[in-house]
Assembly symmetry: C2
Homo-oligomer: 200 residues x 2
């Protein structure tokens, strides 16, 4: 069952993010994984092979009520999903701060800008201004192609959309100015290979 | 009311972290704030004055059950606190990756090592190995002194404790090898002033 946030985005399982799993829970098997799952496995691999330290942040939750039963774990009984102020992923690679957002789209030829939000675009502008590496990873599920695109392009399209420009980023832009990420068995989505070529 | 995690640590409000607040919710007033609240206000100030981009990560939550009422927000009705794999705070300052954990202690002369956990210590070792800046911020609430201490010292005490060494870090170590963080009206806990002196 696919479930949805109030903003219409599919819920991809705040309870399944890498950050919240113990080592033994993270397996390398492939059984119809989402981009998020693929990235979590990839990040785990990068950590285990000591190439980088990059994590997905936990899903922000607003907690309203918690029960504290005696002799058992505190139980949250009322809480809501919140929109994050930042991107989902950050960390360090070769001494550099890395920051990115990852999205899937079912559209063949574009990704709607509503997959991102204003705080994220502002956040990525800040990151770049402070000397970090910022990008988006977008998977076009129809073709199973996954691209890395520098955050500057997102910012340009975002800003243009605010003054009447198109409300999506065409796949052609990813093909011309982005970088196809090689997909393997392990690492699954080898985005650091692209990062190394593009930013170092 | 002070509430506690299953591990005995006080719950400092996952619903109050900066990351989950909108701009208008973050005020600069001071009314008996915790170290976490002070750091959130401080980080907000750093972002607004464009000095750094550092955030507290959301509290990791394991979601067990979600209700999807028609025409209203998805409601989490069963969830539990999880232990984070990483530290609570990270970001970028002057092009450098910054990573730290912040803790308060009510003990006058030491902070128990049980305030940290193995994953965090390993995480900080990795961060330093990859060229990042890693430290802990510890507030001794009795004296209201807050110190910054390089993560290497935590690692040394942690590792020693595993082979019979003491289970706490003495305040004296903070005084001799750490750095007292200046406290002002704004920024509240000006740890970047220390970072700038120590690491740049």
């Amino acid at each position: 069952m696919t479930v949805f946030y109030p903003n219409g985005q599919p819920y991809q399982g705040g309870d399944r993010s890498f950050d919240e799993k113990t080592d033994s829970e993270v397996a390398y098997g492939h059984r119809g994984m989402t981009l998020e799952e693929d990235l979590n496995v990839t990040n785990r691999y990068y950590i285990e092979t000591d190439q980088a330290v990059i994590y997905k942040k936990p899903t922000p939750i607003q907690i309203v009520h918690v029960d504290y039963p005696k002799r058992s774990a505190a139980k949250i009984t009322e809480a809501y999903f919140r929109r994050a102020s930042t991107t989902d992923y950050n960390g360090i690679y070769k001494g550099k701060y890395i920051d990115f957002e990852a999205k899937e789209t079912t559209h063949a030829h574009y990704i709607p800008l509503k997959n991102f939000h204003a705080h994220q675009v502002e956040h990525m502008k800040r990151i770049k201004r402070h000397g970090g590496i910022g990008f988006i990873i977008v998977k076009f599920t129809q073709s199973s192609e996954t691209f890395l695109l520098d955050a500057d392009f997102l910012a340009v399209y975002w800003d243009a959309s605010l003054t009447g420009g198109r409300k999506s980023i065409p796949k052609q832009l990813f093909q011309e100015h982005g970088h196809l990420i090689p997909q393997n068995y392990l690492p699954r989505i080898d985005y650091l290979r692209v990062v190394k070529e593009v930013y170092f």
